[in-house]
Symmetry: C2
Subunit: 373 residues, 2 copies
């Protein structure tokens, strides 16, 4: 059996940690009888600075030939915030319609959480973040004179009165941003969450702010209730996003599957990453079940550690385990996660986790564990 | 000296905890030589259900005669989420242009935090939440046929293509929400934060998501940088909202003054409330320095505890301390906060904090402390 996987190392520590991930996944292939044909893509800050290219038409054409992309990290101190994130990472998510961002929040044995009195059995849930709508659609503008008069009519009426702005002439005094939620967009994410809950503890929590952003999240809630009606055995619950940040910290054991629109998903999964031990241990999958999916650590490119062989590769390796699961290699996926857990129990970890090992040493160790456990 | 203050008990436990707050503030007046003339307002769910009125023109006219409103809580199981919040609480904030929502995050001595190894000296910062703009402006719609064609032109172009929706006929398939940030709106909140930082440790952290919601938060960042230039001795820092939820949990000691747009402010101050010991201990001030301000606990109305004399009044009393500060009664404000700290050290607290006292007992105790310390 052969799987074809695209690899994008990206910026900073990205290439080092993806190299480790490939090594571990190759070891899993040896052990479980499959082979991964890797194709490397040169996408990231260096190419952007040299050629001005972010994600090209050709990149898209080539990447679309793969069921999965193994992605390191992007971000570079020479590039203004937003350019690479939007031009590469979000561009891949949106272009390939990866409508699920799947983020397990699981405290592994032997990992320190910043929460007092919480144990691995208390922190074990999964967030299904809608990944293509909401305030990530990129519709907005800083107001520039007469140009966008129509779209801004309603905004102007309110703000003219309030601050006495003359929007015909006071360019740049006002900015707006539009979020969009559609019924089919909400429905497919919410349905995915319910299908997942059926395989777990059977509980889905919707996180929104329908009491204030009532238009978008009112639609979200209605769709949630309609989908829920088809799963009478699944328990459901609505939480407001502000409150949920409290319960993640106080009672993480309450959660099983959490489903949430894009922007709140971004926020609460970082909080989730921290309670499971920090970004060094937080993987994510960007999933289009019928297309090209992408698996990545959720941390950034940490440019200051680039090339030093000190970065923690565990989030990337865990993302690799999710990638294998996605490809149907469930046993191999479990073995990779098992190897991560074993390396932590053995204290065979990088500096940030209190160990003394190099990135590459951890990689070799994980590969040997996968081959033998 | 006499101060005139409006009191809105509101729903659920609101009236009980405001009653306690008034008792403690009156005691502070006795001790420090001022008198508070309270005027009670009947605003909340009961009146809404009886008359359909939320915040009336007359309420507004009357409330505008006071420098401060002491507010309990609103929310009632008989009313759909959003109605009372928007029709009363947000209506007051917006109508009186209370552009600062000030929320101290301070772990008091003797209070349990859910964070491991954090002490009172680690958790002591303050969030300045912009309180009149951003996604709280209430502009949005669920799409209903031809009615709003113009505003939706840009949205339709994108989503028609994506999901094959016919927005001329498929009513209710799509919703949008618009956030607005203006230069003057951002500037006055950011300037307030810098002025506050000068009286504290001299550090301001801006929290936004300028890498994705680049239009609104790009303007916010530019204004932040411009204001910062006028305070060369204040240290500054930009954090993305997702990351900041991690640092609140991992390194709260990093923060001094945090300034942020409305919606993210809502989220991170609830998280802040939890790390300082929970909602029972989290006050907020909604401030218009030149108009009518409002002080409230940030928790809700907890209908199931209504009338049982078990609710924790400390957040409300702390909000009362902020109210006194706002009225220029700084010594009295400090004495009220001191009484809260003393009652906690004495274990003279309600059930939720591990004590055995009734709401009214805590109130009497705090009043006696304020009179004597
Ligand atoms: C880098 C950024 C664009 C991205 C996001 O906001 O989605 C990141 O925070 C994430 O969560 O994957
Ligand atoms: C009740 C709700 C409208 C309100 C808000 O979102 O601002 C509350 O959460 C708060 O933070 O005061």
């Amino acid at each position: 059996m052969q799987h074809r996987v695209a690899a994008v190392g990206g910026d900073g520590i990205g290439p080092e940690i993806v190299a480790v991930g490939k090594e571990v996944l190759d070891a899993a292939g040896e052990r479980f009888g499959f082979d991964i044909a890797w194709t490397d893509f040169d996408i990231g800050a260096d190419r952007y600075l040299a050629t001005g290219e972010l994600l090209t038409e050709e990149d898209i054409r080539e990447l679309s030939k793969f069921p999965a992309i193994y992605f390191g990290a992007i971000g570079d101190e020479r590039v203004k915030p937003g350019i690479l994130e939007k031009g590469i990472l979000l561009a891949i998510r949106f272009h390939f319609d990866q409508f699920i961002n799947l983020r397990p929040i699981k405290l592994l044995d032997g990992v320190a959480t910043p929460l007092a009195n919480k144990k691995p059995e208390d922190i074990d849930f999964i967030v299904v973040r809608e990944n293509t709508e909401d305030f990530y659609v990129g519709i907005g503008s800083r107001f520039a004179g007469k140009r966008e008069k129509k779209t801004l009519e309603v905004v102007r009426d309110i703000y003219n009165v309030k601050f006495g702005l003359d929007v015909e002439t006071d360019a740049d005094e006002l900015a707006y941003q539009i979020g969009v939620i559609t019924r089919p967009g909400a429905e497919r994410a919410i349905r995915y969450a319910f299908d997942l809950a059926v395989t777990r503890e059977g509980k889905v929590t919707s996180v929104d702010k329908a009491n204030v952003l009532s238009d978008v999240y009112g639609l979200w809630r209605d769709v949630f209730s309609e989908v829920a009606a088809g799963y009478p055995d699944v328990k459901t619950e609505f939480n407001f996003v502000d409150a949920v940040t409290m319960w993640f910290v106080k009672n993480p054991e309450w959660f099983d599957v959490v489903v949430t629109p894009n922007m709140f998903g971004d926020i609460i999964t970082d909080l989730g990453a921290m309670i499971q031990g920090g970004l060094g241990l937080a993987p994510g999958g960007n999933i289009n079940p019928a297309g090209t999916s992408m698996f990545e650590p959720i941390h950034g490119s940490a440019p200051k550690y680039r090339g030093q062989d000190v970065a923690n590769p565990l989030a990337t390796v865990w993302a690799g385990s999710m990638l294998l699961d996605h490809l149907g290699e469930h046993e191999a996926a479990a073995a990779v996660l098992g190897a991560i857990e074993q390396s932590i129990l053995d204290g065979y970890v990088t500096r940030d986790m209190g160990g003394a090992k190099k990135t590459s040493e951890v990689g070799r160790y994980l590969a040997s564990l996968v081959r033998t456990v």
